[in-house]
Each structure stands twice: as structure tokens, then as C-alpha cells.
Subunit: 398 residues, 2 copies
């Protein structure tokens, strides 16, 4: 048993949401490398030190609280979406902090904590853990730019005074990440805990159509090369062509759109947009990519538009480690008998990257209304505490 303290855990969770508090419900605005994000990481480092852990920032701002030379790692991320909730990432970090702190107080087992940087993908997808894993070099990461044109290199320079050396993955026996489900399934089934068996894969790419910017009154419809109309045609065609290939669990999203010059009296000369798609089957992700590239090329050709694809970022689907998964399942049955399930994660997490370095597992608690990436994201506090208890029990079983 690791004697976790629910009140202390909840107090820390609420303290963390004050950094970048949106002022709307419990929402937070704490994107990677913002002032709020950096201040939150400094506060977390302080809480780690108070718990007897050794805080350590690496060159990209991933924050570790180390329990020794060889330990179980727990955590998630403390950066948020541009308009995010208080639990996405924060729950896993504070769960990890409380289990590590309680374990330290109880004299073992050694548990370390981590908050990865830019999990939310201001510069792509799970940037901090992708660099830590070694899949993306620091040099290549530094050249990535966010939607506002800020480079990753310039952004991480904001934390340069805190940065230490890289932390070796060899220090950890495994990784356990607690997270909100961010989907509707646990709430709809009335269950408390989800033991994750796999994480779906993701692809993310920016696409640009270039047309001819022109006067919206004097340019006849048949002579237009309207970049927004290219985007609209692409959007309709891929939905049609995905039929028969996708499953109910497959998702795709155009979440970001930027027109140039974006004025009501001007035919748009350029449309830059994000195309993201997710599925548990890597071969299906590849087939979707083929459709996306071919359809964009076809639309560009039909409409006389220029076309360019940005770098494709993404991660393949991964299975969770069987031993860690079983420890979570046993603990879930003890804490919430009959009220848990094994399930895949539709969201990407840092655990995807860590699966290439060590055994990993994940645990979900329900999201009210299935809502996340929104100020209204929330979970019943009883479910948060149940999740903490499952995690503490699972860690003690290893």
C-alpha cells in the first residue's frame, strides 16, 4: 500500500489550475512556453522538492521529479490547449506527484514524476516527449513554427535559465499515465475506471491551396481560383472517399483554417489548413493519407490551384504493456468492483512515445459529457480520487 492523501492531491490539482486560469469555469489557458506554463512548471518543481524528489528540467522544458537511479515513472503534461480544461494532463502530473510523495513518505517503492512539454502540439504532436524519445532531433524541432510563426527554438529559449541536461530513460522501470477519458464512453456506461489497452495512431499535416486573390465583385464565378472553395471541395470529397475504409472509431478533423487576405470583398488567394486523422490501425492511417494527398492534388488540378503539403507529424498506434495493464486492472477491480473496463485511447498521449523506451500503461477516469479541450471540461471529484487510489495500488503491485 502507498498511503495517498486525497485532500492533498485535490488541493494541488486546484492550485495548478490557478496558473493560466481562464476566469470561465475551471478553464485554463496555459499553452506550452507561455508565462503561465513556465510559472506552473516552476511551482511543480517546488512541490517536487518539498516531496523529497529531485526536480530536473531538460533542454526542452520537460520537468522530472526524480526518486533515485531506478524507479517507476508517473506523470503526463501540464501545458494546455489554447482554450483548455483543468484536468487534461494536469491530472496525470498531480496523481504522479501524490503517489511519488506518499511512496517517499512510506519509505518506498521509488516513484518518479514527469510533466512533459508541449503535449498539446503547439509545434506538432507531443513535442516534448517526441524529442525526449529521440524520434525528432532538437535541431529539427527548433525549426518548427506554431500557427503564429513562433519557432520552437525561440519558444524553448524562454526556459533556457531553467534547463539542465537530458534525463536518461534508463532510470525508469516503466511509465504509468493517469488521464481523463476525453470521450463519452465511461460516463455513458456508468463506469469509473478505464484500463487502456492501446492508443490509436495519429497523423497531422498542414495543407495549403494557393489560388488567385481577386475582387469579389468583378471576377465572374467561372474565372475564379478561390482557395477557400478548394478547401471546401477537398473537405467534401475526402468524407465521401473515406466511406467503406473507416470504422466508427476513425476520426478526422479540419481544426485550423487561415485564409489570405480574409476580407469579405476579396476572393481568397490562399487557404492554409490543418488536416488531422486518427485510427488504431496503421495501415488504415496510410490508406487515408493516400486519399488525402490524391484528393488534394485532384482538387488543385480541377480548380487551377497551387498545392503544398507541410511536414507530416504523427505516431503509430501502440499496445500497452501487459504486466502494467494487469496491475491497473487488478487495482481497478479492488477500488471499483465491476465498474471498470479495458478500452483503447482515442486520444494521443505522451505514453505513445514512451512505449518505445520502456513498458507503459494508462488509466482513464470519466469526462463529464465527454467534453475536453474546452473550458467546461470536468470530472466528478469522487472519480478523480478513485483514479488516484487505483494508481497507488497498481504501483504497489509491481
Amino acid at each position: 500500500m502507498i498511503p495517498v492523501q486525497p485532500d492533498r492531491f485535490l488541493a494541488d490539482l486546484h492550485a495548478l489550475r490557478q496558473f493560466g486560469a481562464s476566469g470561465i469555469g475551471k478553464g485554463v489557458i496555459r499553452p506550452a512556453y507561455s508565462d503561465a506554463d513556465i510559472e506552473a512548471r516552476k511551482w511543480l518543481a517546488g512541490r517536487m522538492a518539498e516531496a523529497g524528489l529531485k526536480p530536473r528540467f531538460d533542454p526542452v522544458g520537460n520537468l522530472f521529479g526524480l526518486a533515485g537511479d531506478r524507479s517507476l515513472l508517473m506523470g503526463s503534461h501540464s501545458d494546455s490547449q489554447p482554450e483548455g480544461g483543468w484536468l487534461d494532463g494536469a491530472l496525470g502530473v498531480i496523481c504522479g506527484l501524490e503517489v511519488a510523495r506518499a511512496a517517499k513518505e512510506a519509505g518506498g517503492p521509488p516513484v518518479s514524476v514527469v510533466s512533459f512539454q508541449d503535449e498539446e502540439g503547439r509545434w506538432g504532436v507531443t513535442t516534448g516527449s517526441t524529442v525526449w524519445r529521440g524520434k525528432l532531433s532538437l535541431e529539427d524541432a527548433d525549426r518548427l513554427t506554431d500557427h503564429g510563426g513562433l519557432s520552437f527554438g525561440d519558444a524553448r529559449a524562454r526556459m533556457a535559465d531553467l534547463a539542465g541536461d537530458w534525463v536518461s530513460p534508463e532510470m525508469f522501470t516503466g511509465f504509468m499515465e493517469a488521464h481523463i477519458e476525453q470521450g463519452p464512453w465511461l460516463e455513458q456506461s456508468g463506469e469509473t475506471i478505464g484500463v487502456v489497452n492501446a492508443i490509436v495512431g495519429i497523423r497531422d499535416m498542414r495543407i495549403t491551396f494557393t489560388g488567385q486573390q481577386n475582387h469579389a465583385g468583378t471576377t465572374p464565378m467561372h474565372l475564379r481560383r478561390d482557395a477557400f472553395q478548394g478547401l471546401a471541395a477537398f473537405n467534401a470529397k475526402i468524407a465521401e472517399r473515406f466511406k467503406g475504409l473507416v470504422t466508427d472509431a476513425t476520426v478526422w478533423t479540419i481544426g485550423h483554417v487561415a485564409l489570405t487576405p480574409s476580407a469579405s470583398s476579396i476572393v481568397p488567394g490562399k487557404a492554409v489548413f490543418s488536416m488531422q486523422w486518427r485510427d488504431g490501425d496503421a495501415a488504415r492511417l496510410d490508406r487515408m493519407e493516400r486519399i488525402i494527398r490524391d484528393t488534394a492534388a485532384e482538387v488543385a488540378d480541377e480548380r487551377g490551384l497551387g498545392l503544398s503539403f507541410g511536414e507530416m507529424l504523427g505516431l503509430d498506434p501502440v499496445d500497452m504493456d501487459a504486466r502494467l495493464q494487469d496491475a491497473l486492472a487488478e487495482a481497478a477491480e479492488e477500488v471499483a468492483p465491476g465498474k471498470w473496463r479495458r478500452m483503447p485511447s482515442g486520444a494521443l498521449h505522451d505514453a505513445t512515445n514512451l512505449s518505445h523506451l520502456m513498458p507503459v500503461s494508462m488509466m482513464f477516469v470519466p469526462s463529464i459529457g465527454g467534453i475536453s479541450h474546452d473550458f467546461t471540461e470536468d470530472t466528478d471529484e469522487a472519480d478523480l480520487v478513485a483514479g488516484l487510489n487505483v494508481l497507488a495500488r497498481a504501483a504497489a503491485k509491481l
Copy 2:
């Protein structure tokens, strides 16, 4: 005869484009009330004074160069699109300046000049002349906001030190506006001059779909309320429903789109976009409006989206004054025998507003490639000078 000087005219036209020069070709960035726009207006006021005209700014920054108590008014506007060309508006202002200056030097007839403010519609459509006309009250105009949230009231306050009283429309016997065609027809037919017989009407409205912002990985496609998908469905449906109603000359444009929060990993919770449509027939504009409103409501209903319409701005189609039009036609035949035509204007102009106050007319010169509202907008200088000569001859005939 009014002895205009082509070299002086071209020199002033090139001087004006230095204000807000984009550094790309002859392009300009001189939106209403920007520093570049205000500096350009101060320079224009200086040139008017040097020409013996009396410069006068009104409360919204419309700049008049007055030739006396009763005169023919010539001009256009000197504000530009966010990314505009050097001739749109500027041509009419500098043509007016040269004709007024030459007339003054020759001892008559009296010609005044005007540069209206915000013709390009940062705050709607032809804002400066709409307020001058009295169709939009200053109080209502002040509450309009641009896409960045800046109010018209705050913007015009930037010119408050220059502002004088309103100029009475009673001072003018008529209005003549020279302009680039901004469309392909004159160039394609090898003609030099277009004598405008009518200006099409325009409607412009912002539409907002509100959905549910959510996680792009964990929210199944069938549970999404994606505001961008609402916009895409609306865009496709109106194109379908306009068939059979519209003519080859009818145009409609979605030129501005803003998603919230506009991140690749988030299902868009809100889409605000501009919907603009133009036609020479007011009844057709009304029928299009009905389709737009009904279709948006239907899409919102089908997809569980919120819907709101912004204020609809616009102007009805107007015919040009027969006497002024004939003076331009006679002059065109003298300057470019057999190389001119009567034609409608697909673009809206300040002349539309002035038609409610006095007899108005317009004259076009060709646009290379039909391109406007773009840095590459241009016209052969021989055509610019031909236009100046037509205008000077027409003014002398009245």
C-alpha cells in the same frame, strides 16, 4: 478644353503609392485610418492646396478639395484593401486632382475633388460615403467593428485633429468617378474605355455557427457539432440552390473565415464568416438573401449548431445619370474612337451612394489580367492617360 498634364498626373499617382508601399511590385497596404492612410490624406490635402483648392476633412475623414460654392465633383477613395493595388481608388482621386488643377489653371470650369474614407469596407461597405450620404448615422457607424474588433468610432478618433464640419452635397452639380475596371472584359475585347451605365447592388453579412468545441481524437464523428463542417455544408448548399436563380454576372463570396480556437487537435466550436453577394437586380439580391438565411438555419438545425446573423450592409443597384454618361461617351469616342463600350460595374463604388444626392457617372480603364485587390493590380500607363483625357474632355462638355 481643360489642359491636363499627363506627366504631372502620373507623378502624383506614383507619389501616392509610396504611402503604405508593400514592397512587392506596386502593391499598397493602406487600409482606412492606418498610419499610411492618414499620411496619404495629409499629403493629398497639401497637393489640393497647392492646386488652389480648399482642403477640408469631414468628421469621418472624407477629404474634399473645394473649388468654390458650386462645382462638378470628381474623385474616389485613397484607402486600400489589406493587400491592395496602387490604382483601386487612387486613380480616381488623382484624375480628379489633375482635372481640377488644370481647370483652375485654365480659369474654369470649377472642379472639386474628393477622397472618401473606408470605401474598401473595413467597417462594412463604402463607409465614408454611406455616412456622408446620410444612410448610416455617425452613432451607428461608430459601433461597427472591423475583423480585429476595432470600432469605427475609435478608428476615426485617430484623425480627430484634422476633422472639420460636414461638407454640404448642395455644393456639387454632379459626381464623376474614374476607376480601374477590376474585371477582365475591357482587356479581353482590346478596348480602352468603359462608360458605366449601372452599378450592381451588393449585400454583405457576417454569419456565425456555434458548435461544441471538443477533442479531435476522442469525439466520434457522429457526436460532433463541428462549426467548420457547418460552414462547409452551408457553402455547398447555397451554390446548389442559387442555380436557376443567378445569371453569369451574379457573384457570391465567402472571403473571411475565423474558427475558434483554430487548433489542429480541436473540433472547431465556432465559425464566423463573411457572406457577400452582388447582382444588378435588387429582387434577385433579395431572393438570394432568403436562400442564404433559410439554408443557414437548415444547416444549423440539422447539425445542432447555434446560428446568428450580423447586421446586413449593402446598397441597391443604381443607374448612372444619362447626361453625364453621354458626356463621357462622346469624350471616349474622341480619345479612343471605336475602342470603348458602355458596361455595368460589377464592383461597388462611392458613386452608388452619391447617386442619391446628385447626378453621377463612372468611367473605367482596363485592368491587366482583370486582377484587382492584389499587389499585382496594374494598368498600362497609356490607358491611364487616355482615361484622364476622357475625363477632362467630358468635364468640359458639361
